[in-house]
Symmetry: C2
Subunit: 429 residues, 2 copies
């Protein structure tokens, strides 16, 4: 069965493209052409059934929520509850990053129940098994990693993060630029350690053709991981990061030639004024592939509140080229997120995505703000709640206040500016 990219190249509009065009209110022909050029992807495994969404330029900015058990905290029911919360608050995708418990069962359950696309990082499963067997990640058998990729592809995973750009060459660029914080990507650190101890090249790079074989077969979208992304503002845009990006650009071309859908992952920790440059550089060297960013976080000193630093960086990133924002939760850098963190992380990312979509004049986006503003003028609270990103929260705060049954709020009371203004005649001048 052809991939969405192969269908698009042959000019055939698939049911998935129709569904996306309808959802995004864009023209089917235009969408098909953008997919054919690789500027838009529809991550949807041929073995996975759900309402598809697309990621790329000209569409609303999408949001991903990371879920999954960890070695120390392993409860499938809790992860499914987080998935429900993430999707309810607007996540367009979830990633199962489980590293604790029965990984196959967890993934299969998530694939069966998720109403949105599902991504994974296959090397996590292989590394988890090694640690369980008290082995070192350098003992990873590349054949097992390829088997895991194939297993997950057959199971229905829609997109996979694969750290193909962490090579002996790109790591060497990073080493010579003297980073403050080294590698902060789990996958990137595993690959580097494996290369160092086995004195060999990254198998995901050397045997990229095998990845393409598997991904073409099941229409898995490759998400080229940025294993050398900066984990400190001071490390942003260094030679290691950019060296990896150049390799990812080449791998984008190879995937497209094979008919495999592909997107590219980006930083990370990054001062505000470097974000636009990074987005433009990435879009250029990766030939306008959809860009999936982790943050970026505009300062390093806000653990406990990194959903906010992520929303600041995510907004400017999405204005200048990022198409897909991986949420950051308040738990980032500290612990595994709980259900409340998931909600706060998704909402913060939605604020960033929406703030950017307003600037990028994505069809249908400004109407929500306009409707909210009219409701504010009219003191029409029901419409305000309904137009809010989190209607429950907006309603709860008003209802629990002293002004729960009034047309004004408990901050301004009868000094309400909107009320006063409504009662005022026009001034002639």
């Amino acid at each position: 069965m052809p991939t969405q990219l192969q269908y698009a190249i042959s000019g055939e509009i698939t049911p998935e493209m129709k569904a996306v065009a309808n959802h995004e209110k864009v023209d089917e022909q235009w969408l098909c052409q953008e997919i054919a050029q690789g500027r838009i992807v529809i991550p949807k495994n041929t073995n996975h059934h759900f309402e598809p969404r697309a990621i790329g330029a000209g569409l609303t900015t999408k949001i991903n929520a990371n879920l999954g058990t960890s070695e120390k905290h392993c409860n499938l029911k809790e992860e499914l509850e987080k998935m429900y919360i993430a999707v309810k608050h607007g996540a367009d995708a979830i990633m199962d990053l489980s590293t604790g418990g029965d990984l196959k069962k967890i993934l299969q359950t998530i694939l069966k129940t998720s109403p949105v696309m599902v991504g994974t990082v296959p090397i996590y499963s292989v590394a988890t098994r090694l640690l369980t067997d008290e082995k070192n990640v350098a003992q990873l058998d590349p054949e097992e990693l390829f088997r895991e990729i194939e297993f997950q592809a057959e199971a229905g995973v829609d997109f996979m993060t694969l750290h193909c750009g962490v090579t002996r060459s790109t790591v060497s660029f990073m080493q010579k630029d003297e980073r403050v914080c080294g590698i902060v990507s789990r996958g990137g650190a595993i690959i580097k350690r494996w290369m160092a101890e086995n004195n060999a090249e990254n198998p995901l790079y050397e045997q990229y053709g095998r990845i393409l074989d598997i991904c073409e077969k099941y229409d898995v979208t490759i998400s080229l991981g940025d294993g050398l992304r900066p984990g400190a503002g001071a490390d942003a845009t260094d030679r290691g990061q950019i060296a990896e990006l150049l390799v990812l650009g080449e791998l984008v071309d190879r995937a497209r030639k094979r008919g495999v859908q592909v997107m590219v992952e980006g930083p990370g920790h990054m001062p505000f004024d470097q974000i636009e440059t990074n987005m433009r550089l990435m879009k250029r060297v990766c030939h306008e592939a959809p860009f999936y960013v982790l943050g970026p976080l505009t300062t390093d000193i806000a653990p406990g509140y990194d959903h906010i630093t992520g929303a600041i960086g995510g907004t400017v990133a999405a204005i200048h080229g990022a198409d897909f924002l991986c949420y950051v939760t308040p738990a980032e850098h500290l612990c595994l997120p709980n259900a409340g963190d998931v909600r706060n992380g998704v909402i913060a990312s939605k604020i960033a995505a929406h703030s950017a979509d307003l600037v990028n004049k994505i069809p249908g986006v400004a109407e929500k703000d306009f409707s909210m503003s009219k409701a504010r003028r009219d003191l029409d609270w029901e419409t305000m709640y309904n137009q809010a990103l989190d209607p429950e929260m907006a309603r709860k705060r008003k209802k629990e206040s002293e002004s729960h049954d009034e047309d004004h709020c408990s901050m301004c009371g009868n000094l309400c500016a909107v009320k006063n203004d409504k009662e005022t005649a026009t001034i002639n001048y």
Copy 2:
């Protein structure tokens, strides 16, 4: 007694300037010259005693937290507790916006106990008394307003928001541009209503000289209120907003000529891509006066989370000219903030201020991020907590997790990238 501006013009370095220069790690002579030019202000009433801070270009971005009772929620003890929380988390200023209870006693208590500068909006007190007497704000007696300004100045208020730019002319520009949300400033709405019903000009504009007399006497810094600020993204940068800004520019000149310190207030609700333009325009037409912004909020649809929309807008504002950020709390648009909202609002504003200060290369700012990043590399949790904007929160999240006594966190466990990377040899290439 001369004002800080008058001292600076005569080249005299005051103890206040010395304290500020020491705190900001800047040169005293440079600071004195900037104050003389009006680009920096030290809001400190001659009757108010506390450690002064300065606001303006070349210094760290400052944060204000609004406090105060309301008609519906009136508890002085609670407001003092909020003040304590705001200052503890980094507020450089607080504003007492009380509109409920014994307003004089509340203000005097706050002035006596606040360790940071205190601002007010005097028209709130006068309007509150009118409503208490079941009168309409159009019945406001201008003489009573000037008496209130004088009373508050003598009591020790350091800066006052005065809506001098809401004139018959500027309101008429606003009316003809057909706003979605009209006036959202309480002070602005009161002035407009007063002008309409009395068929007269704004007394704060017409009798601006009397304000200068009072403010010069006690060295009160005027904060020229933006009564016509946009309250909807759709209204941003409209003719009414800009007409008022031009008037405020003229009033800046008049204050400086009189030796009165002055800053200018700005929006409000504003799409991300209009913020830079607004900051640059304001700095030009107001001759580089310090700029005090309320947000800006980059979308209208996030009630319950507007500390985040405010942090996004505040960052880009502070990068391009804003010097003073009025915090926005999660309660904005819904109810009076509680203690938790105050904490979240202050931290979100600090994230914005710090993210901007990093870009603007303010002395001493990047060191905090560098120190945090080094601590992350070393898995040195105590230093990470100490360098965090909210050390208590960072410590609490880690300590309550399953990995409370481990060097890694409960998200990555033994797959921790930093740990793995530290144990990996250099790759030769």
